[in-house]
């Protein structure tokens, strides 16, 4: 019974991928990879997702610590807010971003004064991807922090370790697998981001057209190209994910 149901689930995941692969040809794959629009989308996707991953790490780690370790009024609400982008339709996320950071948004006037333009720019694509993917990092790390035995950290403190040293030698090693998983999830979600990006940042080759947008574009005019692009995206994501998870959790 277990094997049968599990097998059905596995086939359910595998079959669409097999279908995708069955439609691609090696020559088509090669030709598409050489196309300037594809290369532009691929590099832009890497750039946007990596910058966003960095932002998620720098901002998301402290947020995870805050949520896991600091009692403050409205913490439950803050947790809800952080997880909201995970369940929000990304297009709605894009509209929400426009209403905050768009030209007519809440901070629009102020942003324009300091010379920051987000809609229709690569920076805007980074913001959209960060908005949608950071929750995956924050939630994973917060859960891991909550399960670290506080006595370990207390013991280190009684031995005279500074807070920074405790973090480095006790806390971080304890949450390393979760950190790896969170980074991988966050990055994967970012690489696949579509709705918030096209809504908030638009769709222009070399500037905001990341791989998922390029796939969607291709689907409308050249379905074969869409299949190949989809496979490329799949291969890149899979390789990066496996490399990242392997490296960090081995350490």
């Amino acid at each position: 019974m277990l094997a049968a149901l599990g097998g059905v689930a596995l086939v359910f995941f595998a079959l669409p991928l097999v279908g995708l692969v069955s439609r691609a040809t090696p020559s088509g794959l090669w030709r598409q990879l050489g196309a300037p629009a594809v290369q532009a989308a691929l590099w832009l996707s890497l750039e946007v997702s990596l910058v966003s991953l960095g932002l998620c790490l720098v901002l998301g780690m402290p947020l995870a610590f805050l949520l896991a370790r600091v009692e403050f009024p409205g913490r439950a609400l803050a947790r809800g807010l952080v997880s909201l982008p995970m369940v929000l339709p990304p297009v709605v996320g894009g509209i929400a971003l426009l209403s905050a950071f768009g030209r007519k948004g809440l901070l629009g006037g102020w942003l324009a004064e300091v010379g920051v333009v987000l809609p229709f720019t690569t920076a805007g694509a980074v913001v959209a991807v960060t908005f949608v993917s950071m929750p995956f990092l924050v939630m994973t790390i917060e859960a891991a922090l909550a399960s670290v035995d506080p006595r370990l950290e207390q013991a280190a403190a009684t031995l005279g370790a500074s807070r920074w040293r405790i973090l480095q030698t006790v806390t971080l090693p304890a949450i390393r697998p979760a950190l790896a998983a969170g980074l991988a999830l966050c990055w994967a979600r970012g690489l696949g981001e579509f709705g918030a990006t096209i809504t908030f940042a638009g769709n222009l080759e070399g500037r905001t057209q990341t791989m998922p947008l390029a796939v969607y574009d291709a689907l409308q005019t050249d379905p074969e190209a869409a299949v190949t692009l989809g496979l490329v995206l799949l291969a890149v994501s899979l390789t990066l994910l496996m490399a990242l998870r392997g490296r960090i959790s081995r350490r």
Binding site: L98, F120, G202, N203, D217, L219, T221
Partner: protein, 234 residues
């Protein structure tokens, strides 16, 4: 609910109509009367014609296809699922700006820093818009200011009416009541003439109902509604 009904044998008859995004108001305007007259449930699928044509090529169950341009109908014909199509409406292209926008004509579309939004080149509205800019001799300068290729023409309306973009080229009929007060509409003196084609799919199980729908469109009721919404008759 519809999933459950789809499994039952006594489900009401259903006419599946795939139509270009710009036809939304007219087609939904025809819906109630047509359903009452023929005792059928009309189900619409509105999207960019290029998406609908792609779905038809992939074998999606569709009874009637209404496309915003000839190339997309040609894709459906090439798939073997459409034998012939007829033109039932025409449209005009206009330049739109936010209501507080600063440009007053297509000649200014090349102004440095301007943010122009068009439908993508594969979308009928985007293809027509590029032809129009070409005809006006401003294509190169204007396209240098292009900040986004939207997936359908209503996406262009959305970006401009939200004030995020400074200009866009859309169909005259896209300036609906819902957005009219947020937009300024400027005429484009071009000969580009968007033409809408409709066809009943040859493998449709409801081909006579489909033909009735097409007849309704081409008949007095449909044509009046088209004109009311700003379309031109063929």
């Amino acid at each position: 609910m519809s999933l459950v009904m789809a499994c039952k044998g006594d489900a009401p008859r259903e006419l599946k109509v795939s139509a270009a995004m710009s036809l939304k108001e007219v087609f939904t305007g025809l819906e109630v009367a047509f359903e009452a007259k023929h005792g059928v449930d009309v189900v619409f699928n509105f999207a960019g014609s290029q998406i609908l044509a792609g779905q038809i090529v992939e074998g999606a169950p569709v009874d009637v296809f209404a496309a915003a341009d000839e190339p997309q109908m040609r894709r459906a014909i090439a798939s073997g699922r459409v034998a012939r199509a007829e033109v039932f409406a025409q449209n005009r292209l206009v330049l739109i700006t936010p209501v507080d926008g600063s440009i007053s004509g297509a000649a200014e579309l090349g102004r440095p820093g301007l943010r122009l939004v068009l439908a993508g080149p594969g979308v009928p509205a985007g293809a027509y818009a590029r032809q129009a800019l070409q005809e006006l001799g401003v294509a190169e300068a204007a396209l240098a200011n292009l900040v986004s290729n939207e997936e359908n023409v209503r996406g262009v309306v959305g970006k401009v009416s939200a004030g995020e973009a400074d200009a866009g080229v859309v169909y005259a009929t896209d300036v609906t009541a819902a957005v009219a007060d947020k937009l300024r509409v400027l005429a484009l003196a071009v000969s580009v003439q968007p033409r809408y084609e409709v066809a009943v799919l040859t493998d449709s199980a409801e081909s006579s109902l489909g033909a009735a729908f097409v007849a309704e469109l081409a008949g007095p009721g449909g044509q009046t509604l088209l004109v009311q919404h700003g379309f031109l008759l063929p």
